[in-house]
């Protein structure tokens, strides 16, 4: 699970996905909202990267921008490079991009009930991608659907395969959505808050299922979440986003033990702890900044209890503060003892 694992370290040496200087802006009526702000990251083969951040921090937009799924206009995506499996995604034509979607990269959505078409049987929907691409003969469709449903742990799949999404519970539909995502044997799965709409016990099952399928197939996974617990359980590395920027990116065990960004520290401080007694939570004061009118320097500075005058003019590039641990905080080294 961890970077210290030598096999993993070798795997990460050849990145599957390299994003360099990605900017996503929404331009409408003269207003420019910068949802993703100069983001760079790499993802190794078979690696699990968690992206955490509060609502509106650009997590989902970041994922969708790789797949060119944002409506354009208003979205304008620019990047020096989005290299996936040796191909530079921005250079591809729409047709080539369409071939990558669903085969090399697929997605799992937040609201399972909305992610399946209400008027089609589930079995038909999860096998459609393979049939469309000619990888599956229509005659074998039902068999394949049952096989996929068995793989994601749906009981009695031969009875369930002809049912419609409204006949299933949210957790079951999410399993079907995952089946649909893994059907094409993708190299990368983008899971956009896959457990947020589910109750806690189901959340764990779905996460466990994702982990299990990932272990089986060696697929890389980007897990977007605002739930730190979900990320802590399942990811090799974690990126913390705020106001469209990656504030800190580090191996999971390091980010929870020795966070090197004041925002990460703030996030960790605002989680309720069972052993914390009646000690009050420490919420982060204030509101996230308006993405249409970002302050210069560190966007978190106005809410940060460690902010100094230098923060307003801070250079927000990520700096390596420990091996594999990058932070954009200019006072990263001073934060060491606080955790």
């Amino acid at each position: 699970m961890h970077l210290s694992d030598p096999a993993k370290a070798v795997a990460t040496a050849v990145p599957l996905l390299e994003v360099e200087d990605l900017v996503v802006e929404f331009r409408q009526r003269g207003r420019v909202v910068r949802a993703v702000n100069h983001v760079s990251l790499t993802l190794g083969q078979g690696e699990t990267l968690g992206i955490v951040g509060e609502s509106g921090s650009g997590k989902s937009v970041l994922c969708r921008s790789f797949l060119r799924l944002l409506p354009s206009p208003p979205a304008v995506v620019t990047a020096s490079r989005i290299s996936f499996n040796g191909q530079n995604l921005p250079d591809l034509t729409e047709d080539q991009m369409q071939a990558i979607r669903g085969t090399d990269i697929s997605m799992v959505f937040q609201n399972p009930m909305g992610a399946l078409n209400p008027v089609w049987p589930i079995g038909d929907q999860i096998t459609e991608g393979e049939v469309v691409r000619g990888r599956l003969a229509p005659a074998n469709r039902r068999k394949r659907a049952i096989e996929l449903l068995t793989r994601v742990g749906i009981p009695a799949p031969e009875l369930r395969v002809d049912e419609y999404p409204h006949q299933w519970s949210g957790g079951m539909v999410q399993r079907a959505v995952i089946a649909m995502a893994v059907a094409g044997a993708p190299k990368l799965i983008l899971a956009d808050e896959p457990t947020t709409a589910l109750d806690v016990t189901i959340q764990n099952q779905i996460l466990a299922l994702l982990m299990e399928l990932q272990a089986e197939t060696g697929t890389a996974l980007i897990l977007v979440s605002h739930d730190l617990a979900v990320v802590a359980e399942s990811c090799d590395r974690v990126a913390v986003m705020y106001a469209g920027r990656i504030m800190e990116i580090a191996p999971t065990d390091r980010i929870f033990v020795a966070p090197k960004h004041a925002y990460t520290l703030g996030l960790l401080g605002s989680i309720p702890r069972i052993e914390g007694g009646d000690q009050a939570l420490e919420p982060i004061p204030g509101q996230p900044p308006n993405l249409a009118d970002l302050p210069p320097g560190c966007p978190f500075a106005p809410r940060c209890r460690f902010a100094s005058s230098a923060c307003a003019g801070a250079d927000m590039t990520l700096r390596e503060v420990a091996p594999g641990h990058f932070s954009a905080c200019i006072r990263a080294n001073e934060l060491g003892g606080v955790a």
Partner: protein, 287 residues
């Protein structure tokens, strides 16, 4: 683990038991009307244009349940054969424009941009143009006849369906399953026609039942005005027009074809109402 099958397949009967009363009654009436049209030759010994000049303007009786008109033609036979004119006309003028109206509207809603802008402007112009003036122009150029009415209706009737489908598509296209379909790398055609279309045609299907009635009424109205079918044809509106000269002496010539129109209209309205209830249990029905 054993699962209990929740619903058997082949669930037509189960479905019918869930229909609201209006849908059941409307369907029964409509099926009866269709059967009456199909089996007209077995239901009456008379032909629709068979004249019997010795028995003109006979009041309804056992021999002539709806009476006879001024040429001694049996009104019941003419009403039955009229079904063969009016119902197919209604079906064609409703469902042909519905098909391309919904497709155009769905594409406009999905693509947006210039296609949407141009289509909606064409639609505005079409809606703004008075229909009766259009049909009079077409009839003036091409001569009267049912085919020219088809042309006029095909030019105009798609607009409502395009609007309905576009409006629903604007909602559907932002739903996750459409995004999921794009994520899976499906082409626009597949997404619009296979995934979105079944979900954007609800209000069009419901509207089509009222449109059906309006189109039958329209044909009758045009025939009444002399712009529709030519006289000997047993069309309900034409029959009403022919009978109005005898309204005081022989009320049945006008009234009974009119009643046939009312019954057909009621059956379709009941179906529309019931469908709206059944299909719209999770949505707002339009009509």
């Amino acid at each position: 683990m054993t699962a209990i099958p929740t619903q058997p397949r082949g669930r037509l009967l189960t479905e019918i038991t869930r229909w609201p009363g209006s849908l059941k009654i409307g369907t029964v009436l409509f099926v009866l009307i269709c059967l009456a049209g199909i089996f007209a030759p077995w239901l009456t010994p008379y032909g629709p244009n068979e004249q019997d000049l010795k028995n003109t303007l006979v009041a309804p009786s056992l021999a002539h349940p709806f009476g006879t008109d001024n040429f001694g033609r049996d009104v019941f036979a003419r009403v039955l054969y009229g079904i063969r004119i009016n119902l197919p006309f209604g079906i064609i003028t409703t469902y042909v424009p519905m098909i391309y109206g919904v497709v155009l509207g769905a594409l406009a809603g999905y693509w947006g941009g210039w296609f949407d802008a141009i289509l909606m402007r064409i639609l505005d112009v079409t809606v703004a143009f008075p229909f009766l003036v259009l049909i009079i122009v077409i009839v003036a150029i091409l001569g009267p006849g049912i085919h020219n009415i088809y042309i006029a209706i095909f030019l105009t009737a798609w607009t409502m369906y395009a609007r309905l489908a576009r409006a629903e598509m604007l909602v559907e296209r932002n739903k996750d399953y459409i995004l999921a379909a794009r994520t899976l790398g499906y082409g626009t055609g597949r997404i619009v026609f296979r995934h979105a279309l079944p979900n954007v045609s609800n209000s069009s299907i419901i509207f089509s039942t009222s449109d059906f009635v309006l189109n039958i009424m329209l044909l009758s109205g045009l025939s009444f005005l002399g712009l529709g079918v030519a006289p000997p044809t047993p069309e309900w509106g034409a029959m009403i027009a022919e009978g109005r000269d005898f309204l005081f002496d022989a009320w049945w010539i006008c009234t009974l074809p009119g009643l046939a129109l009312v019954v057909t209209g009621t059956a379709l309205c009941l179906i529309g109402d019931g469908l709206a209830q059944r299909l719209g249990e999770r949505r707002h029905a339009l009509v």
